[in-house]
């Protein structure tokens, strides 16, 4: 087990280095490089630009700049926002909670619904329910998240008036219920794609388990269908799903960006778009790296969890 964990940690570190190289390349892609925003300031002369360039260390060889940038990244010094001068990591962490709440709720919704739909589809294969779930999942994957959000706002906020059209809470009312009411619609919208993916994979995983010998044995000894499902099938089918949950992190983060924009949810995605609008490149770069690190951590956690639950993995 220790060897497996060390091995997996090593892989993640290698990926982190590669990811940071791509991030650094994107940073240098900005027109005029990291200096672009100073160049726009009126009254800047070339001499001024050269001085800033030297101050920021931009006259050094690219490889030295990269090493320096990566080292500061590791130490948590991610630069300062152009907009308000606050450290980038502080700005990000101020928005991270809202995104985490949204993504967490969406995951709970999609795992619950997706698992149920997947198992039902697998046990009643080729039924109308199974067919409808398959087609429904494919349609759900084809609808742009933001458009689904717009339609939901139109129906539930503008026509029926049941739910608020945006924001995270009503100013002056900070009750838990108020938060919950604001959370429902964006979380459902964000969960849609995930429900589709989760139910598809759950169906396949269940089908794989359901034909195995131990399930037949359980049936043969007279267990009811329900108990066989609960005791032998669901647990085993959920094992590969842990990996899937890790793999869904980038999709969820991307979906959160769009959902947050439509519902004016004060999370990382909104921050990313606002920062793009202000050409606040340190925050943009910070968020790009932050989201990639989240993805790496998500995959790592999923793999370690699978190894913890499933002894077959650690032994090989």
């Amino acid at each position: 087990m220790t060897r497996y964990i060390l091995n997996r940690l090593g892989q993640s570190l290698v990926l982190l280095v590669l990811v940071s190289m791509i991030g650094f390349a994107v940073l240098n892609l900005a027109p005029g490089g990291p200096l672009s925003q100073f160049a726009l300031t009126p009254g800047m002369t070339q001499a001024d630009l050269d001085r800033i360039s030297a101050q920021m260390g931009l006259d050094r060889p690219l490889i030295v700049q990269y090493a320096d940038w990566f080292w500061r990244l590791l130490r948590g010094d991610w630069g300062r926002s152009f907009r308000d001068g606050r450290p980038v990591l502080d700005v990000i962490s101020g928005h991270f909670g809202a995104t985490l709440l949204l993504m967490g709720t969406a995951t709970v919704i999609s795992v619950t619904i997706g698992t149920w739909v997947g198992i039902k589809g697998a046990t009643k294969r080729y039924s109308i329910f199974d067919y409808a779930a398959t087609v429904g999942a494919m349609v759900a994957l084809s609808i742009p998240t933001f458009w689904f959000g717009l339609v939901a706002i139109y129906i539930f906020s503008l026509k029926l008036g049941w739910l608020p059209a945006g924001n995270m809470y009503t100013v002056g009312d900070g009750s838990l219920l108020d938060y919950a009411i604001h959370l429902i619609m964006p979380a459902m919208v964000l969960a849609l794609v995930d429900v589709a993916v989760w139910s598809r994979y759950m169906r396949t995983a269940t089908l794989e388990v359901i034909n195995q010998d131990f399930v037949r044995t359980a049936r043969a000894k007279g267990m009811t269908q329900r108990r066989v499902l609960m005791k032998h099938v669901v647990g085993n089918a959920l094992l590969p799903m842990i990996t899937l949950a890790g793999l869904q992190v980038p999709t969820l983060l991307g979906g959160a960006l769009v959902t947050e924009t439509v519902f004016t949810w004060p999370g990382m995605g909104r921050l990313f778009l606002d920062s793009l609008g202000y050409q606040d490149y340190p925050v943009v770069m910070g968020l790009l790296m932050f989201s990639a690190i989240l993805v790496l951590l998500g995959n790592l956690a999923a793999d370690l969890l699978t190894a913890l639950v499933d002894p077959r993995i650690r032994l090989t």
């Binding site: 590669l18 791509i22 084809s142 742009p144 139109y154 503008l158």
Partner: protein, 295 residues
């Protein structure tokens, strides 16, 4: 050299519409529906604009915010009084073209990297595939938006950056396929004949990996149309006055109460196009799957 190009034992095919693959595809009802929908959408976008009384840029000031089915504006008009049907069809040209072109580009990139990584394996393969993993670690919308904000947005650049952020899946699929084909007898034979690496990779391995590539490419079209819609909706994709399905939705949210058709019409178009392409991809996967071919 050309001796090995056509295996002598290949069974004579009659017509392509009699092939097993085609018959299996034709049995997949949703896939056929998808093909019909895509053909209709494509034809409508090519021919439609010539049949409408308005162009996509004509501003009918007296008819601003007309709901659908008023006068000759059968899908209504936008806040400037431009005909929504004309804009929708012109936007369809751009959105579908961007989707298709991005697919071609990303399939080229993905296939090349996948074949090289799978064929050479070893250190080259590992480095390439770790590179694929690391690009996949960025949520594609974040990467796409960052690139789009840095680069001057034109339809060609948008196509390029969509391709840059969506070739990885193809690369993975091709790598797996090639790695399993590499040890097969016909490749060993090709090597013993002394064929060049390039010949083996692109003339022997690639044709045999075509099935999964075609499926992945089809699904990439759907993905690319969606990605274009996302960036354009957020304001960093195709720039007005050039219409695209995504940027038609860009201003729609503020008129959701007064003019909901502005949001509904382009959204339905995107959903229809993407769903149809996904259905086709699903049908192709069933039809081309080599495993179900054995029985």
């Amino acid at each position: 050299m050309s001796v090995s190009a056509t295996p002598a034992t290949r069974p004579a095919r009659s017509h392509w519409w009699n092939s097993r693959t085609f018959r299996r595809f034709a049995r997949h009802r949703l896939a056929v529906l998808g093909v019909v929908m895509v053909v209709i959408l494509t034809l409508a976008c090519i021919v439609g604009p010539y049949l409408l009384p308005y162009t996509d840029l004509y501003i009918d000031l007296r008819a601003r915010f007309s709901p659908p089915l008023t006068g000759y504006h059968f899908l209504g008009t936008d806040p400037l009084g431009r005909d929504l049907a004309a804009r929708l069809l012109m936007a369809g040209r751009i959105s579908m073209l961007v989707g298709f072109a991005a697919m071609v580009l990303s399939t080229l990139i993905g296939t090349t990297i996948g074949v090289v990584a799978g064929y050479y394996g070893g250190r080259i393969g590992t480095v390439l595939m770790r590179f694929v993993d690391s690009v996949l670690s960025f949520p594609s919308i974040f990467l796409l938006l960052a690139l789009a904000a840095f680069i001057k947005p034109s339809p060609i650049m948008i196509t390029v950056i969509i391709a840059i952020t969506s070739w990885m899946e193809v690369a993975r699929i091709v790598e797996t396929e090639v790695r399993s084909l590499r040890e097969r007898d016909f490749i060993v034979a090709a090597r013993m004949l002394g064929l060049s690496h390039r010949w083996i990779m692109f003339r022997e391995l690639l044709p045999n990996a075509m099935g999964p590539i075609i499926v992945a490419a089809t699904l990439t079209v759907a993905r690319a149309i969606l990605l274009e819609a996302y960036v354009s909706f957020l304001g960093y994709g195709i720039q007005p006055p050039l219409p695209s399905w995504g940027n038609m939705l860009n201003g729609a949210q503020q008129y959701l109460q007064s003019a909901p058709w502005l949001a509904i019409v382009p959204g339905v178009a995107i959903a229809l196009a993407v769903t149809s392409v996904n259905f086709i991809g699903d049908g192709l996967r069933d039809a081309l799957d080599a495993r179900s071919d054995l029985n």
